[in-house]
Symmetry: D3
Subunit: 248 residues, 6 copies
C-alpha cells in the first residue's frame, strides 16, 4: 500500500515531520511518501492562506496521487479535503478530521490544543463542520504561532502541556487533540505530561487511510462526493484539469 | 460609493447578470463594477471547483478591490468570503450569506432553492456554517445544473417555482432563498409564481454592503478576521502577495 | 421614505435617542419619526413589562404606522416584533434582531453586552429564538440597569467597555452587540475603547428597514406572517381593532 | 388548594371546557376556578392576538390570583407564562409546557397536533423555546382553526386522529400532544382512536400545579424569574400596577 | 395508590432515605414501598456499575412491581429507566429525569449539582439524552463521592451549597437540581443556603408518578416503548423472564 | 495482535458471523476470537434486553478479555460499550460507533438502515449520544426483525437495498450504515445494490481496534473513562468483581 502525505504549504520540514509520523505507525507493508506545496503560503496561518492553499492541495493530489492508494492531508485545517475526496477515487483523510474521530473513541469529550490564538474560531468552525461540536469542549491555543513554536520546541511542548491540563481541569476534557502539523513530532512529549490520551492527527489519518483501503468501499456514484464529471477548468496545472476530464 | 462584484468563475455573462442585479437596487450614488475570474472553472459546480476558485476570488479582490468601498461575492457558494473578509479592510458580503440573513427578517423559516441536486449537501453545509441551520427547513434543487438552466430559462423558472411551492407546502417554508448566481436575473419571475417573499442574494448583498459602508465599523484588530500581518506567500499574483505585506 | 421608530416604554428621552441614532445613518431622502408608549412601563426591565408593552407596541404601530414605509422596534427585547410583522404590510425590524444579523457579517462570533444582570437569560432566549445561538458566545451585563446607566453615562460606558474586553478575551467574541435602547447614543464611545466592531441595533435596523423597502418584497400570503384576516378583537384602541379588520 | 385557570381570550366556553378538564383530574381537596379575558381577542389565533393577550393574562393573574395557590395558563400558546411566573410568587404552569414535559415521560418522541396550519411555526417556536425541540418530531395541524373545529367537533376529532396516525407512521411519534384549549374536552375521544398516549395540556398543568404547590419551592431571589421589584407602570388596571409595587 | 421505589445498589440506607423522601410528599392515600438490589454494586459510582445495575433494576421491577401503580427509579443515573418503561405497563419515573423536567418549570436554566467529579460527563450525557441540554448550564460536583459525603453530611451540605452558589453566580443557574440518591435527605438543608429553588429528584418523581397514575394513559401499542412481546430470555430470575412472556 | 469479539446475546451463529466479518478484514498478524453470552436474551431486540445484556457483556469482557489486545462489541446497540471502555485498559470499540465514525469519512451524510421499526428511535438515541446526529439523515428499518431476516436472507437483502435507495433519494444519504449484527454477512450483497458506500460496523470496529492498538494511547488517569478503582460488587461472576479490584 502506498500513502501520499500532502502538505499545502511550502515548508519541507513540516512535510518531513508529517511523513515521519506517518511512517512511525504505518503497517509494515505500507509505503509513505510526501509532497510539499510549490506555490502559496510558507506556513498556512490565516483564513486567506487556507483559501489559497486549496489550489495547491488540489495540484499536489492531482500530480502525485495517481499511483497511490490513499492520501493524508497534512495541514491541520484539513485544507482541500472535501475537494480531494470528491474528485479522486482513492480515500482521502484529513489529519484533524481523523484525529477528532479517533478522539471520540477514547473519552467523553475532547479539547483541541494548538498554536496561535487567532485560529481558535477557525478550528471551532472545522470541528462544527464535521458535526462533532458537541464532543469538543473547546479549543485552546498557545500564544505562539507555528513558527515561534518551531523556534523553541521545548517551550512549545511545555505550553501545550499546560493548556492541556487547563482543558482537562476547567473544561472536563478527557482527550487532547493536538492540532497543527508542526506538532506531529511532539505527540510523545506532550503525552508524557498529561493524564489523558493525546491524539495527533497524522498518525490517526495514516491508519484510517489504511483502514479505508482495506475496506475497499466503492466510489460513490451519486451525491456531493461523486465525481463531478467533465468540467471546463482553465489556466491551471494540466494534472488538475485532468481531474475534471472524462475519466478512464 | 463603489461596490465591486466579483465572480470567481470564467463566465462573463454570469458576472454581467450579477452586476445588473446589483445596479437594479443600489442607491443612486453607488457605482457597481464587476470582475470575472481569469483562470479556474468555467462554472463552479463541484467542491473541487469551489476550492480552486478560492484562489481566483482572492486574486480578483486583490487586483480590483483597491479603490472600492465594498465587495460582493457573486458565487452562490460564497467562495472566498472568509478569506477576503479577513485580509481586506473593506466590507465583503457573500450573496448567499446576505440572502439568508435577509430571509430571517421576512418569515419564520426559509428554504433554499437552487440548481443541481448534487449541491444540496454543500448548500446545507454553507447555511449550517453560518449558524442558520435552524432557520432553514431544507434545500431543494432542480435536476438541471446552472448550464442547463441557462439554456432554457423559462423551463428553469417553472421548475424553481414548482420546487418553491413544494418547500412551502411540505416543509413550511415562509421565504424562498433563490441560490445560484445564474438566477440573479430571474428573481422577479420566480416571485410572480410564489405566495411568499423570494430572496435573491446579489441584491441583498449589495444593499448590505452599502449598509456596512455607511455604518463604518473599524477593521477588527484582534480575532480571526483581523489582518494576518506580514506573511510569506510565493508564486501567486503580486496583488495577492501584497495582501500579506506590511500594509500601509 | 418614512421610517417610524416606536418605543414601547413611556420615556420620551429614550425615543429621542433612538430617533437621533436612526437619523444619523439614514439615507438623505429618509424621514425618521418617533412614537412613545402612552401606557405601561416607564422602562421595560422585566419579563412582565415586556409582556405588557406588547399591547403598547401594537397600538403604536397601528396608530402611527399607516403612512410609513417601515417600522423600527426601539426596544432591545424587540418587543412586539413578531406581532407587528404579521399584522402589518410594511417591513418591521427589531433593533436587537438587526444588530445580531449585522454582527454575523463582521466576525465569527459576537457577544451581547447590556444593562442589568437579570436580563442575561432573556437576551439569551431572544438570540436563541432567532436561531443565532451558535454565533453568540454569551451575554454580559453590567450590574446597573438602564436607569442607573442613564444617571452616570461615563461610568456606564466604562463598564460596557470593560465587559466588552472580557467577552473578547475570555469568550473569543469578535464583535460586540451593544443592547439596550438607552445605549444607542453611546455606540461611538464604546467603539473607541474596543478593538473589534461595536454594533448598535437602532442604526442597523434603520438601514435594514431601508434595504427591505428598496427590495420591495410582497407581503406573504401564506404562513405565520401572512395577515391573520378578519378577527374579533374588543376593548382596545380602534386602530388596533382595524388591524384585524377586512383590510383594504 | 385553589387553582386558578386563566384564559386570555374572551370566549367563556373555552374557559369552561378548561376548568372542567382541570376538575376532572384535580385531587379531591383541590378547588378549581376560572377567569376569562375582558378585552382583546375573542379567540387567540395569530401572533398579534397572542401579543395583545399578554396584557390580558397579566390582568387576570393580577386580579384573580391573590388568594390562589397556583395558576394554569389555559391558552395553548402559553400566553403570558414567563411574565406571570416572574411577577407572582405562586406556581404558574402553561398548558402546552406541562403537556410537553409530560409527553417526555411517556415516549421517545412526541408530535404536537393542533388546529390551523398557520400556527405550525409558532408552536414549533414555543417548543424550541422550552428547549424540547429534539424531543418533538413535528407539528401537524388540521386545516380548520379553533372556531371551525368547535362548529363540528366530530369532524375535528376525526381529523385530529388522522393527523395523529400520520405523525406516528411517518414521523415516528410515540406520544401525541393535543394542543389548543378548545381540544381539552376531546382528549378521550382522540385517545380512543390512537395507539399511543394522547396528552392534553390542561390536565397535565393542573396536576403539575398541585405538584409544585406540594413541593413548596421558595420564590427565586435572583435571576430572571425573581420579582422585578418596584417599577413604574401606568395606565393599566391597578391590580397590574400593584404587581410592580413594593410587595408585602 | 402504591408506589414502588427501587434502588439498584445494595445499600439499604439509601433506599430508606429515598422512601422517606417519597413519603414526605406523597398524597395521603399513597403507599410508598422500597426495594433494594440483591446483587451488583454496593453504591453505583461508575459507568460499569451503572451497566451492571440495569440487570438488578429489571429484577427489582419484575419481582416487586406486580401489584404497584407506579415505579420510582431511585438511582440518580436513572439506571434501567428506559428498559422498565418499555417492559412494564405502569408508569416508571426516573429521579433525575423527573427533577430535570420539574426544574424546567421553575427557572430559565438549571445546574445539576452532585458528588464526585468523574460523574460530570455521565450526568451531562443523561441530561442531553433527555433532550434538555439547552436548559442545563452545567454539572458541578463536589470532590467527595457518595460514600465520603455520607460520612460527613454537614460538610457535604456545605460543599453542595457552595457549588450551587458558584453555578448561580458564574453560569447563571436559576434552579439547582440536586442529584445523587444519597442527597435525598438533604434537600431542605441545601435549600436553606441558596437563593433559588433546589430540586430533588425522588420527591419530583413521586409526585409525577402520582400524576401519571391519575392521568391513566394507555400503554403504547406501537413504538420503542410498546411491549417487546414474547422473547426468549434465559438464565435470569423467572420474574424477569415473565416480563418477556405472552402477557395476560 | 488478538481481538476479542463479544456478542451479548446467546445466538452462536451471530457471533460466528461477526467473527468471520472481522477475520475478513483483519491484518495478517491479527487473531480474532469470539465469545457468546451465557445468559440473558437470545437476540437483543428491545430496550429491556439491551439493559439486561449489559451485565452479560461485562462478564464476557471480564472473562475473555484478559489476554486480548482489544475488544469489539458485536451488538449493534453497542451494548456495554461505555462500561467496558471504562473498566478495561485495552481499546474497546462498538460496531455501530465504529461504523458511524467511518461513515463520516465517506460522505456528507449517512443513513442507518436496520431491522425492525421499533428500533428506529433507539438507534437515533445511540447516534445522538455519539454527538453524530447532524451527520445522520435518519434511520430506516425493514419491518422484519433480525430473526425474520435470518429466516429469509435474500428477501432481507432486497429490503435493505430498497430502504437504502429510499434514504439516498429522499433523505440525501451519501453513505449507508448497515446496522444489526445479523447483517454483518450481507454487507457485500447490499453494497452490490447501492450506488454509495455501504458501511458495516464489525469490519470498521475491527480495523479501528487494530488502529488503537498500534497508536498505544495510555489509559486515562482522570475522567469518566479512568478506572473506577476499588469498588464493592457482589453476587456476580468473580471475573466481573475483579474488574473492580485493586488492579495490578
Amino acid at each position: 500500500m502506498k500513502i501520499l502525505v500532502i502538505n499545502g504549504n511550502m515548508t519541507q520540514a513540516i512535510t518531513d515531520g508529517c511523513v515521519n509520523a506517518a511512517r512511525e505507525v504505518a503497517a509494515p507493508g505500507t509505503q509513505v511518501i510526501g509532497a510539499t506545496g510549490t506555490f502559496g503560503p510558507q506556513v498556512i496561518g490565516s483564513r486567506a492562506e487556507h483559501a489559497l492553499a486549496q489550489h495547491g492541495m488540489l495540484e499536489l493530489g492531482a500530480k502525485h496521487g495517481a499511483d497511490c492508494d490513499a492520501i493524508v492531508v497534512a495541514v491541520s485545517m484539513d485544507t482541500g479535503l472535501p475537494a480531494l475526496r470528491e474528485v479522486l477515487s482513492i480515500p482521502v483523510l484529513g489529519m484533524t478530521e481523523a484525529g477528532a474521530l479517533t478522539a471520540c473513541t477514547l473519552g467523553a469529550k475532547f479539547a483541541l490544543v494548538t498554536f496561535g490564538r487567532r485560529h481558535i474560531p477557525t478550528y471551532g468552525e472545522l470541528i462544527d463542520g464535521y458535526g462533532l461540536g458537541s464532543r469538543c469542549v473547546g479549543v485552546e491555543a498557545i500564544d505562539a504561532g507555528p513558527n515561534a513554536a518551531l523556534a523553541d520546541p521545548a517551550a512549545a511542548v511545555r505550553s501545550l502541556i499546560e493548556l492541556g491540563r487547563k482543558a482537562i481541569d476547567e473544561r472536563g476534557a478527557e482527550v487532547i487533540l493536538l492540532a497543527g502539523a508542526v506538532a506531529a513530532a511532539w505527540q510523545r512529549d506532550v503525552q508524557q505530561g498529561l493524564p489523558v490520551p493525546v491524539v495527533e492527527g497524522i498518525r490517526c489519518a495514516t491508519l484510517m487511510a489504511e483502514t479505508l483501503v482495506r475496506l475497499a468501499f466503492p466510489k460513490p456514484k451519486v451525491g456531493s462526493y461523486s465525481s463531478p464529471g467533465v468540467r471546463t477548468v482553465s489556466g491551471v496545472d494540466p494534472a488538475i484539469a485532468r481531474l475534471f476530464g472524462p475519466g478512464d
